[in-house]
Symmetry: D2
Subunit: 356 residues, 4 copies
Amino acid sequence: MGNIWGRTFRITTWGESHGPSLGVVIDGCPPGIAISPELIQRELDRRRPGQSALTSPRSEKDKVHIRSGLLNNLSTGMPITIEIFNEDADSSAYEEIKDRWRPGHADYTYEAKYGIRDYRGSGRASGRETVARVAAGAIAKIILNRFDIDIYAFTRSIGDIHIRNVVREEIENNAVRCPDPEAAKAMIDLIGRIRNEHDSIGGVVELRISGLPPGLGDPVFDKFDAVMAAAIMGLGAVKGVEIGDGFAVASKRGSENNDEFIIEHDRIATRTNHSGGVLGGITNGQEFILRAAVKPPASIGREQKTLNNAGEEVAITVEGRHDPTIVPRIVPIVEAMAALVTVDFLLYQRVIEGFR
Amino acid sequence: MGNIWGRTFRITTWGESHGPSLGVVIDGCPPGIAISPELIQRELDRRRPGQSALTSPRSEKDKVHIRSGLLNNLSTGMPITIEIFNEDADSSAYEEIKDRWRPGHADYTYEAKYGIRDYRGSGRASGRETVARVAAGAIAKIILNRFDIDIYAFTRSIGDIHIRNVVREEIENNAVRCPDPEAAKAMIDLIGRIRNEHDSIGGVVELRISGLPPGLGDPVFDKFDAVMAAAIMGLGAVKGVEIGDGFAVASKRGSENNDEFIIEHDRIATRTNHSGGVLGGITNGQEFILRAAVKPPASIGREQKTLNNAGEEVAITVEGRHDPTIVPRIVPIVEAMAALVTVDFLLYQRVIEGFR
Amino acid sequence: MGNIWGRTFRITTWGESHGPSLGVVIDGCPPGIAISPELIQRELDRRRPGQSALTSPRSEKDKVHIRSGLLNNLSTGMPITIEIFNEDADSSAYEEIKDRWRPGHADYTYEAKYGIRDYRGSGRASGRETVARVAAGAIAKIILNRFDIDIYAFTRSIGDIHIRNVVREEIENNAVRCPDPEAAKAMIDLIGRIRNEHDSIGGVVELRISGLPPGLGDPVFDKFDAVMAAAIMGLGAVKGVEIGDGFAVASKRGSENNDEFIIEHDRIATRTNHSGGVLGGITNGQEFILRAAVKPPASIGREQKTLNNAGEEVAITVEGRHDPTIVPRIVPIVEAMAALVTVDFLLYQRVIEGFR
Amino acid sequence: MGNIWGRTFRITTWGESHGPSLGVVIDGCPPGIAISPELIQRELDRRRPGQSALTSPRSEKDKVHIRSGLLNNLSTGMPITIEIFNEDADSSAYEEIKDRWRPGHADYTYEAKYGIRDYRGSGRASGRETVARVAAGAIAKIILNRFDIDIYAFTRSIGDIHIRNVVREEIENNAVRCPDPEAAKAMIDLIGRIRNEHDSIGGVVELRISGLPPGLGDPVFDKFDAVMAAAIMGLGAVKGVEIGDGFAVASKRGSENNDEFIIEHDRIATRTNHSGGVLGGITNGQEFILRAAVKPPASIGREQKTLNNAGEEVAITVEGRHDPTIVPRIVPIVEAMAALVTVDFLLYQRVIEGFR
């Protein structure tokens, strides 16, 4: 269980880091949508390893194979399946540690839960699993595009280096996906130093969605912000999620935090956007803003102490090909999850709109 | 949609702030559990209004009515329904603002979504909705108790007043549910001042769960931390959720953040607990730790600017009976949601355990 | 589990035969629907005991209490809860048989499954459970009425007495809900004789839905006919379901069974309707026709052999107030389930239509 | 929507008759199950076309490709994906009829629903879709085998030729999967004649499950018989489903129909089995018996009248490679669906058993 997501735009994903293939079945894509394989490939290229000096050197082309659901590149309403093969899996580095639990990894918990674990490249607990999410998210983005809903994310900080400003056009111009070129340079330097020290580093990603119609989200349990929080917290490296002013609200007063309603460009808007675009779990038409805390990758090239599965203390050095930071690569994944959540709510809202 | 929660321990809730009743149907409570109505009542008493000088003076007894699912106070495996009547609803204060959108409230978004809204006491967007969650959570707690799983939450900060230490026994000894008596006193003072200024204030709640077996949580989408994040972010006032070290991980290195595995009291444990008890979305047997940022209540007794539903600028003063801070009352609600999530995973884990 | 039904129009029901109340929460009723409590009451009156000499003399008014989801009798999009209290429960007749398993009843299976059972009036295994289905179905019918979708059912046979023709207006004119007045008379006579012999009798109910738009049903697992089959087979007394020509197709040839497409009244239609209005699991706009085989009630006033829960052979005579046939009372219940299924598909179809 | 089935053992299927591949993702297979690809292949071989002179000559090897979820042929608890490629798809015969609606087929209804349809080999409305169900069912059978639950189905009638007795060992000895060798011969003759007349013929399939523990099934909506009815009625050619005595109960009396409880071989049993092994929607430990009415295939080689999608009357002759009867090939598919339903209930029952 746990490999199906969504209510009206439902995805089922499969695959391990070193298995034959990974993929996704999308159940609920509306019919008549033009699906360009190139757009899916472009998103996969943004998350794939080996895309820059900052990422794992594992060499995967992540070529898209569409297996069902299209007729002449138009969706038919049937399940759309996208498959990606593993081509550069090398399990040799994992043989040595297959009975040892890497600190910060899911080795022990998978073993405790299932009594068996696929130790090759972390199996399904690998970040490689997200390739299926990004493929599905690419189709979600195509649908959102028809509604002029625009999603993007970027690196807000790496370690203690924070951005000063956001120039959207700069994001894809640097290897850290940072909207501030100066900060980007410092981040890249820092990551290089960290890598040389056989260590890793965390950061913060920010997500923004504009063009959202008011009305998305289904109280009381399937609120827009609640489902979005699950979607983002469900990414392996994320340890915190905040929306709008987030944790800063804890020390604020109501008189500071409430967003006054105004008319702007003939549309209902709010003067400020402390709420991050959500009121009572429903979008209010303002920009949706979310930040996620991303932990430093657990795989580091230093010797660490741990236990083996006989319960004995052992030393471990995690070999293999790893990322010194996962922040830049998580950017397209955050976008993908956000697109999936948004499409799901958008489709369901059709049901209600028919009656209003 | 949106009023059903859970996979194996599923709850369906109903009710508005000023409607006849609120309640919950629990589908999936295992048979043979001794359910004491007093234990449910005790939890409801912890969240009810009027419990202290810090809360809304609305006077509700929130008396528990069990409608189904028990035979001689034992669960039978059938749906358990708990109903609570509204007895002190007073809609008069809302007549005046029924065509105006209160800043920070869900008035506008409900109207945008549904084309109609129950303006009386905020309808279902009221915090009163959570009475049903707490009732269901009380039963979840009874089940967890059989497994020696212990859940508690407390106030970590109000405004800029932070706790210095956690003495669990103190939590229920003060009106702010603060585990540090000195900080509690300062918080109560602050809340009193804020109330006199017709304003409101936010804070942080912390949740802790101990006694969790390793193995709870279902990757890749129904991870323990992801579902918990949705459960807590789905509370009206919550704007941020972090687990373990949370946002602090963003500036940390892997070598600092990884938790080494050790043997402690003959059990597998970790030397530190930066992860907050979850690895790869599955509990590792360490304490689960979550913090939630709670916004200041949107209802303040000051005049604010807003729009009415004709799109005209109007002034608004929110009358009615409100809380200057919601933090102390959200404590039992956070516990309830955490208990519901935990029971759900615990029940599902039975399926897997049968095969290990 | 098992007490929630539907995907977009989801109902959760609760309650036992001799518990405090029974009820339903509807999650997903679109906003803005005028809900008249009288229409719900009318449907409940059609299924209630004591409505004629042919039914159990238990005297229940089954008065409708609406607990949530309406503002001035308009649906708000919030859960609609309907509660019905048990007022004439008399558990005394059940004390004697609480450790014996009545043949044909669910006593043994509930005990085998849950290890505990509510023996009072059969608990939740009682037909009384369907009062909640009928209440929900009444709201579904109100929605279908807006779309000119018309649902009705009737008694097709009791024992060996079959109808000769269908005059819809006659259905509610006789106590057996039979559309053929002559057959009705014979059926009533037969039921009277059976009752005097302390026995019971089965029959067949037929369901018809007209006005269905083409396009309802979601292949491959949620086909219109498949979901309808589950809905009707899920009624306690039903042992068989057939659609269109049903079991007769087993001895037919393709050349006889295929329905030719034609234009009729400027609309696409079929010359014959062997399929009963469904092709490939999707409605084709023709009348949907389903027949259900209804078993004779298991409660008979004769002595039968059985076991007690110590595994000893014992004699049992089922006292209490029972129906000699359940066919007439199942008619409104079949309609209710059919209405719930149809609304669910109709709402989901909105999602797809928005893209066509 | 509609391509996901199950609650605890959930399958998602994809694929069209003439698309690149078909497949299934199983989410919820417990860990530690030995999965032999040969056992899956064996089941696929039982349903594949070209297996005998009675079936379509389309030549598909239906070779099993396992894409995920296993480590050394042991299930890991992760999604198991099985993919089957289409190798002998020939769409040329369909070009001519791509704008015409074949009588008895889903051409019109898919077009009415989705506004687009994959006309090549009927797209997803093809019986070829069931290859994914059989693959998933093979894994379900492996699990049931551990619990000594035994599932089999057979042909009960073709046209007017009915079996006289059931010799299980004979079923796979003849091309019609008939347990009565004499009847088998007559059936094969009849099918041959029908084929020569360019026509098709229906029949009845019977399913039996023995070794079921008492307690499977979740009232009130997810009853064992209700879910089984949906599973079987959801097969394209099925128009009726009956359980136990089925439609025969309609003319029976309670005194004839009730099954007395007895002790047999030291176990609780019933003297007769009119109920077909289910009481109140829960298995009682007796054999589960279900019969399904299978319609004659709609594809016949005779000219028929129909409409094209401009609404004009046209003649149609359905070329392509078809089956004169689908009954023998539906046997392993019925078994597969029955296995999937049974495993789903069996897994969920673990949750309850932990508390009894």
